[in-house]
Symmetry: C3
Subunit: 394 residues, 3 copies
Amino acid sequence: MPSTRIQLDGTSLPEFETLVDSDSHEGSLSEQGDWSIGFGQFWGGLSANVEILELNNGRMSVYVLPTRGMGIWRAECDGVPIGWQSPVKGPVHPAFVNLQNRNGLGWLDGFDELVARCGLAFNGPPGHDDGAASPIESDITLHGRVANLAARDLEAIVDEEQSLLGVSGTVDEKTLFGPQFEMRSTTWTRPGSTTFSIRDEITNVGSRPTELELIYHNNFGKPFLSEGSVLECPTRRVVPRDARAAENIRNYQTYLGPTPGYTEQAYFFDLIADDDGETVALLRNQAADSGIAVRFQTSQLPCFCVWKCTQDEAAGYVTGLEPGTNFPNFKAFERHHGRVRIIEPGETYLAEIHFDVLGSAEAVGEVHERISRLQGQFDVQLDSQPVAPYCPID
Amino acid sequence: MPSTRIQLDGTSLPEFETLVDSDSHEGSLSEQGDWSIGFGQFWGGLSANVEILELNNGRMSVYVLPTRGMGIWRAECDGVPIGWQSPVKGPVHPAFVNLQNRNGLGWLDGFDELVARCGLAFNGPPGHDDGAASPIESDITLHGRVANLAARDLEAIVDEEQSLLGVSGTVDEKTLFGPQFEMRSTTWTRPGSTTFSIRDEITNVGSRPTELELIYHNNFGKPFLSEGSVLECPTRRVVPRDARAAENIRNYQTYLGPTPGYTEQAYFFDLIADDDGETVALLRNQAADSGIAVRFQTSQLPCFCVWKCTQDEAAGYVTGLEPGTNFPNFKAFERHHGRVRIIEPGETYLAEIHFDVLGSAEAVGEVHERISRLQGQFDVQLDSQPVAPYCPID
Amino acid sequence: MPSTRIQLDGTSLPEFETLVDSDSHEGSLSEQGDWSIGFGQFWGGLSANVEILELNNGRMSVYVLPTRGMGIWRAECDGVPIGWQSPVKGPVHPAFVNLQNRNGLGWLDGFDELVARCGLAFNGPPGHDDGAASPIESDITLHGRVANLAARDLEAIVDEEQSLLGVSGTVDEKTLFGPQFEMRSTTWTRPGSTTFSIRDEITNVGSRPTELELIYHNNFGKPFLSEGSVLECPTRRVVPRDARAAENIRNYQTYLGPTPGYTEQAYFFDLIADDDGETVALLRNQAADSGIAVRFQTSQLPCFCVWKCTQDEAAGYVTGLEPGTNFPNFKAFERHHGRVRIIEPGETYLAEIHFDVLGSAEAVGEVHERISRLQGQFDVQLDSQPVAPYCPID
C-alpha cells in the first residue's frame, strides 16, 4: 500500500519562460550556438514572487534577480557553479528583509548573491550620519537599499551590432525630499563566451546634487575559493581594515580552507590600472588551473576591498572581491575622506565590471602575467595597522 | 539583421478587467453614456501586485488603489491629468515601504498619490508620543499606517436609486491591545460628471475609546498648479506653520512656477462654511479658466492646511489642499489643543470630500463667486508668525 | 431597475485545490472516511498571497499557514470552531507586519492564530539584550521572527504505515553571522480523529552553538473559553507573572466571561508529567461537557504559561495555554535562569504537541481524571507574588 508525499514546491530554480533564443531569433546571432534568455518567478517560502532572468549564452548561464535590485544570484559555466552557499536560503523577497532589524544589520537576512550591490545613497555599517543633508538621509542601515528594491522595465536584449545578449532593468531608489536615483542595469555576455559583464548607469533624476556610494559585493565560494586559493591584483598598497585583518596582513593573498570559528578579515587596496584605465583582480585555485577574474576601470571604481570569510561551509565559506566608489566604512568617514561622490542633477554615473571565468592553466596564466606586468615597477606597501585615509584607526 | 529588445513590463497602467459597464449593466444608468468599472493589478518593480480600480464615468477616470489604503492614485478628466508627478515612481507596494526607515519618515518612499490619507491612529511628524495610552501607540511614524494597508472586500457599485457609480473597500488598521479601526471607503461619481467624491466611514470596532487623526493629503501638480495659480478659500484666519511659511504670508494665495531650491511652506486655515456646513477651496490657474475645487463639511473636517511645494518638476512640483480632523502637527500637540478625536466603541466617523474639475472660466467663476459670498462679512486675519493653538511656536 | 454590487473578494477562506483525498489515494487509508488535503491562497487585503493548507480528516479541518511560519490559523471539529476571534483581521501577510513598529511590538499586528510560534532565536518582550553574542542578535522584537517567515518545501503526507495524514513545511530563520535554524514542521492527524498534532524539528544548520527560545502560543476563544470555563493541569506550583496576575492567584483556574476593561493576567507553572514524560492541560467549559486538552512532553517543553485575556469579544476574548522551552520573560532574564537552550551545530531540537478536542462529558471526565491522578500526591504551591526564578520581581 503506497504512502504518498506530494511536493508543492521546493525546486531550486523556477520554470523559465523563453523570451528569445537562437531558434526564434532572426539574425546572425542565431547561428552562434544554442543560447536563450528566459524569465521565471519563484513561488513558496521566502522566495515567493521573486523574479529571475536567465541569460544563457550556450556555455554559461547567468541568473539575474530583478526583484533584488538586478543582483546576480549565481552563474554557471561549463557546469561549474559561480557564487557561494550563503547560510541564507535565497533568493529572499525584500518583503522578508527589514533593513531596520538587527540594529540596522537586517540586510544580512537577504544576502546570498554572487553580485549584490551596496548603495546607492549609502552603504557600509549602520548608524546615524551627522553629516547628512536631512533626517531623511541620516538613518543609515547596512549596505543601503538598492539590493532590496525591485526593478521595472525589464528587457531582454539581442544586439546584432555589438554581438551581445543581455538583460536590463531599472531600479528606482527615490523618495520625496531625498535621493532620487535611477539605475539602468544591464547584464550581458556574448554567445559561447566565458565572460559576463555588468553595465550600470546611475542617474540623478532629481534636482539637487546628491551623494552616491556604490560597492559591488562580488562573492565567490567553492570551487574558485578553496584551501590554497590565491588572490592576485596589481596594487600599490594593502591596508588591513582592523586589528583582526592586521594579524594576517602578510598572508593577505592566500586563503584557508573552510575553518570553523574563522573571523572575517578585510583589506583595502589601491589598485594599478593599465593605460586604458582597467585593472584586474584574480581569484584562482592553488593549482592555478581554475579561477575568476574581475575587471573594471579604476576611474569608475577607484576603491577595492577584499573580504576574506573562510569560515566553515555551513556558516558561509566566501570571499568578496569588491570594487567600489568608496570603501565599506561608515558613510561619514568616507565623506570626510572625499570618497562620497556628488552626482549633479541629470548626471549619470557609469560603472562596469567584467567577470572572466578561467577554466585552464593557460587562461589563469594569462591573467597572472597581466597582473605581474601591471605590478611591474611598483612595490607593494603592506601596512601593519589600519591607517587613514583608508579606514578609521581604533 | 534585426536586433531585438523584448519588453517584459513597464506599462504605466496595467490591463483592466471590466467588472461592469454601460453595455453589460441593465438599468437606466446604462443609457447615460459609456462608463465602466474595471480592476487591474500591476506587475514588476516596486508596483508588483498593487491592485487598482478604474472608475470611468465616460468623461473622467478615477484610479483607486486598494493595496494602498484606497488612496486615489490619479484621475483624468477630458484628457487632463489630475494628480502630480512625484519623484517616487509609484504606485509603490507597501512591502517596499518601511515606515521606520529614514528616522520614521519612510512614508515618503511610497508617496505619489492624488489623495493619500494620513491616519488613522496618528498622523503628522514622527516621534515618541508621551501621551499615548501604551507603548503600542506611542511610536509615531510620519502620517500613520493607513496609506500602506491593503483593503479587502472590494466592490464595484452601480446604484440606480442614487444614480451613481462607485468602488468600495475596507481597510483594517487594527492590532491587539491597540487601535481597532475599520474604514469603509467609497469613491464615487455620476455618469458624465466632472465631480468625483470620497465617502469614508471609520468605525471603532474595538471596545475602548480610541484616538483618531485623519488628514486627506490631496495633491495637485500641473496643469492646475502652474506659475500664477491662485488658491481661494473663505477663511477667518491664515497662520504660517513656521518661520519659512511666515516669510511669504502675504502671498499665501499665489503660486510660483517650478522653482529650483524652493523650500516647502504650509499654512493653516479656519475656513468658513455655508448654512449647510459646507466649505470649498479652489485651486485655479492664472487665466482663471481651469481649476479644481475641493468641497467638504467643516463639522467633519474642521482643519485645513495648504502645502505649497513649488520646487522644480524633477523634485516634485505640487500643492496640497488638505482638510483634516487635525492639523499636521505632532500628535501630542494636537491632543493638547483638543484636535485628536476620541471615537467611542461602535462609533463611526464619517468624512466626505468632493472634487470638482472646472474646465471653463464660467465654472471657475462660479466657485470664485461662491467663495466671495462666503468670505463676505468676514475679514481675513493674516498672522505674521506661527501662533498657538494652530502650531507650535519655535 | 437593478442596482449592482459586484464583490471582488472578501471570502473568509480561499478556494482550495485538492492535493490528495480519500478518492484519489490508493491504499487502505482511502477506506477510512472522506478526508482530503488541499492548498489555497488568499487574495485581497492584508491576506493577499497568504498560502493555506487544509488538513481535513473527515471530522476535523485544520488550517495551516505556510506563509506565517506554519502557524495553525484555526481548526474546526464537528462544526465547532477552534481558535479565537482576534481583533486583527487575518491571516496577515508578513509584508504587512513590521516587527520594529510599535516600539518592537509590531508582532501584534499579525497575531490571530490558534497556534502561533514564538521564537526561534528569541521570544518574549522587546528590548536590547546585553548578553547577546553580537549586535546581529541583541535587537529583540516581541516574540521573534518565526511566525512571520514563510515556509518552503511544502508537502502533503499520506502515511499508510503510521496511518496518518499531514502537511509539512520548512521555515528558515537564518542570517549571515547569526542564528541559522531550519524548522521542519509537520501538522498531522488521523482519519476521523478528534486529535491533531504538531511535530517540529528545529535544526541548527550553522556551525556554532546557537541560542533557542520556543513558545507555542496556543490560543482559544469561544466556545471552549466562556464564563465559568476552567483550567486544569497537574502542577507543583503556580506563580503570578506580575502584580496584576497576583490579584487573582486564588482564581487562576477559573475564567470570566467577556469583561470590558479586563487587563490580561499570566501565570507560570511547573507541570507534573507521567511516567512517559507527558503532561496535559485542559481547558473545559463550566458544564464540563466540552473542552480541549493540550498534551506535550515536559522534557521538550518544560515551561508552561497560561495567558488569561478575558476582555470583551471585540477586543479579543482569549486564553493561551502555552508550553515552551522558556517562560515569556525578556531573553536576558531567561538566559540568567538557564532557560535559553543552546543548540549545537547539527543538533535537532524536537517539540511535539497534541490537541484533543473533547466533545462530551465523558471525554472531558477522562482528562480530568488523568490530571487528578497526576496531581495525586503533590500539593499545589500558589505564590502570592511574582518570584524568581519564574519571573522578574518588580
